[in-house]
Symmetry: C2
Subunit: 422 residues, 2 copies
């Protein structure tokens, strides 16, 4: 019997992991430039955190969570999204105590028991950031600008921002009543999911992907005439700040985040030319979430961007990430001698900061050179019998094939110079 | 109701996360110097992987795993250790196809349903590395030298290596018979766990922490007279290679890794002066693991080091990690004007690579300076009304309090120079 990775989950192998390292380092650099600091919450939360923080009745919580009882009988769930746990941690540790806003980011695995398909994994990974403790529209624009600037920096030049407001507890109920009135006339034409949504949360009908629902939503009332003055001001403030940064956006009344605690800003951002658009990330304001989790009201706004999705889009757009995972030097021997010298030299090189490798089995030179090539070595240092007798080493430039003989004394410095030059 | 993190699991908050970032970057740098490349396996595996790869009958698998059925009825487990999943991935993707050895490392969360105590978490994190595909003792010494050099580089100078051989399938059965004969005489004096171990795997009695068992083990036969010639040669080879690197070790017959597929090398490494020793990591050879998982025989050797443990020991030894998580510049305004200029300047600074932050709510200057201090800003740029009219900004060195007025044009470059100088 041979074992495989869990269905719908994927191993990230060395041929891919360097891309993850590159992206994660870039993400960290960007997040730190924007004043975000990292938070890491556990993979698991008590299930109630998501039932309240994402919402009972949502597909995520009802159908897609990995939920189980621990040996003590408590219900735990692997986190299906990033925000609820961050807000839980903010409340638990009272992170706002020394002043607000508090700006947090995470790079984390998320879990959804979903039908596996291309680019959709049951364990996927997300970069997200949250600004907690300020209701100011400047924060909405700032938190959206981070991933947009990141995408641009990576070479994704065609970034399209879709922006909406979903109102707040003051004004949304009237809009929902209007939606119910409108969709009530077409109940028979809605898909079964949307007929359920009609009762639970008719906002969700607006982003249904079914053609029959989609057609109806085009004629549905938009929220804009229903927005209260505060929500209107906020929405204009977000737009104004995005204008200041020269970030273009489309007002799109069909972008909804259909949970009760979502408030005001809802955004989705796409990459690519029209007709081949890729949803890159979503974001929004959730001023109701902290109280939903049993805390005091804490305004918040954030986004979440899938890393698998980002990698896929970069590949589709032909953007290559810079690869630097080869070793600098391969240390080879020519037979039965030099094992000790090679092993010590490797250790010295590594302590001096070079990326160095060798063949623990000291196979014949041809096999060692094959290994050196596979490892992407830039130089090979060959410790032959004659060289060792003379206190020398043969240094081969693996790209050009050029060889030279250098004294062992000072060899590491000589190699470092050659490596830095190329 | 207020929610908390799952019992026994911990949030890593911004006041701690910079240490994790620092250690992880150092770990990656070291791993790459040694020619290891990263592998990331999912948090979950089919439970059989651990039943076979760690061993049914072990405490880990029987009592300490987070195991549950997915919605399709398959038994999944959160990984309790790192090696089994790496070997599973090696076999599944045939990673040895283009040549051996294959050197892999991981930095990953592990899960154990354990009694929570100081420094022991139900989700903890481990740095591990594996060399697969070579039986050569040079690999054992190399894979152990990586974390030892890392510890030394971090300032942990008192590193103590305990080394043993547990033999292999050829010679270990005779030793186990000898152990059974010895402990059979003292069955009544063993703890209940060890009475069970006596039947299942008497090797495990050797590392029992109970005083009564401990006393008996001191007189028990050691494996050394039972080792076959190959195991003896291998053990000497490992020692020879460690000698070559000047890494000192103690031969310790009580270091066992009590699973059937463990072979030959077993090591534990401690830090600190005698009497206040901290186990830092364990490692060993597991030439039987790949076939246990249903693959062809693939020799392997590796280690695993807990990151929480490493952080704890660094703290106990008074070793401070370099902290660099403050922002470079805080952009402040003095009232109702300058919001646009501040927001745009922040965006420009961030795109230019500075770490910059501001107050989205533009509170009064005193509150903004308090925020600047909290964020660890090195400079504050104040955009007052007069400054803006003149195309200038006031730049305050937050440490010295010195202020100067600089033109907005070229401000970012001027700040960058000041930051690089300090």
């Amino acid at each position: 019997m041979k074992y495989r990775a869990v269905r719908g989950m994927h191993d990230i192998l060395p041929e891919e992991s360097w891309k993850w390292q590159y992206l994660e380092e870039k993400i960290r650099t960007f997040a730190h430039r924007y004043g975000f600091r990292e938070i890491r919450t556990p993979m698991l939360e008590y299930t109630e955190v998501f039932q309240r923080g994402v919402g009972e009745g949502t597909d995520i919580v009802e159908k897609e969570m990995y939920t189980f009882l621990d040996r003590g009988g408590r219900s735990l769930s692997l986190r299906p999204e990033g925000t609820a746990a961050v807000v839980r941690a903010y409340l638990e540790h009272n992170l706002g105590a020394s002043g607000t806003p508090v700006k947090l980011y995470y790079i984390a695995p998320l879990f959804r028991y979903d039908r596996p398909q291309r680019g959709r994994y049951r364990q996927h990974h997300q970069f997200g950031a949250e600004i907690l403790g300020t209701p100011d529209p400047a924060a909405d624009a700032e938190v959206l600008s981070l991933p947009i600037r990141l995408m641009q920096d990576l070479g994704l030049r065609e970034v399209e921002v879709h922006l909406n407001s979903v109102g707040d507890a003051a004004c949304r109920p009237r809009y929902i009543a209007a939606l119910r009135e409108y969709f009530g006339r077409y109940l028979d034409e809605l898909c079964p999911d949307c007929r359920r949504r009609y009762d639970v949360n008719p906002l969700r009908i607006l982003d249904c992907k079914e053609e029959r629902c989609h057609r109806l939503t085009r004629e549905a009332p938009t929220i804009f005439p229903y927005l209260c003055q505060e929500c209107r001001n906020h929405f204009e403030g977000v737009q104004e700040h995005l204008d200041w940064l020269g970030i273009r956006y489309t007002i799109d009344p069909f972008i909804v985040r259909g949970l009760d605690y979502y408030t005001r800003t809802a955004a989705e951002v796409y990459s690519g030319k029209l007709g081949a658009q890729n949803a890159m990330f979503g974001g929004g304001r959730y001023d109701g979430l902290a109280s939903q989790l049993g805390g005091p009201p804490v305004p918040g706004v954030g986004f979440g961007m899938g890393i698998e999705r980002l990698l896929l889009v970069l590949e589709e757009e032909g953007i290559a990430l810079p690869r630097e995972d080869g070793v600098d030097v391969f240390v080879a021997t020519t037979g039965k001698t030099g094992h000790r010298e090679a092993f010590q030299l490797l250790d010295q090189m590594r302590q001096a900061g070079l990326r160095a490798d060798g063949d623990p089995s000291h196979r014949e030179l041809r096999a060692q050179m094959k290994l050196a090539n596979r490892l992407g070595a830039r130089y090979a240092v060959i410790l032959g019998e004659e060289e060792l007798r003379l206190g020398m080493a043969t240094v081969r430039n693996m790209a050009s094939g050029d060889q030279e003989r250098l004294p062992l004394e000072g060899l590491i410095e000589a190699l470092r110079e050659r490596i830095q030059k190329t």
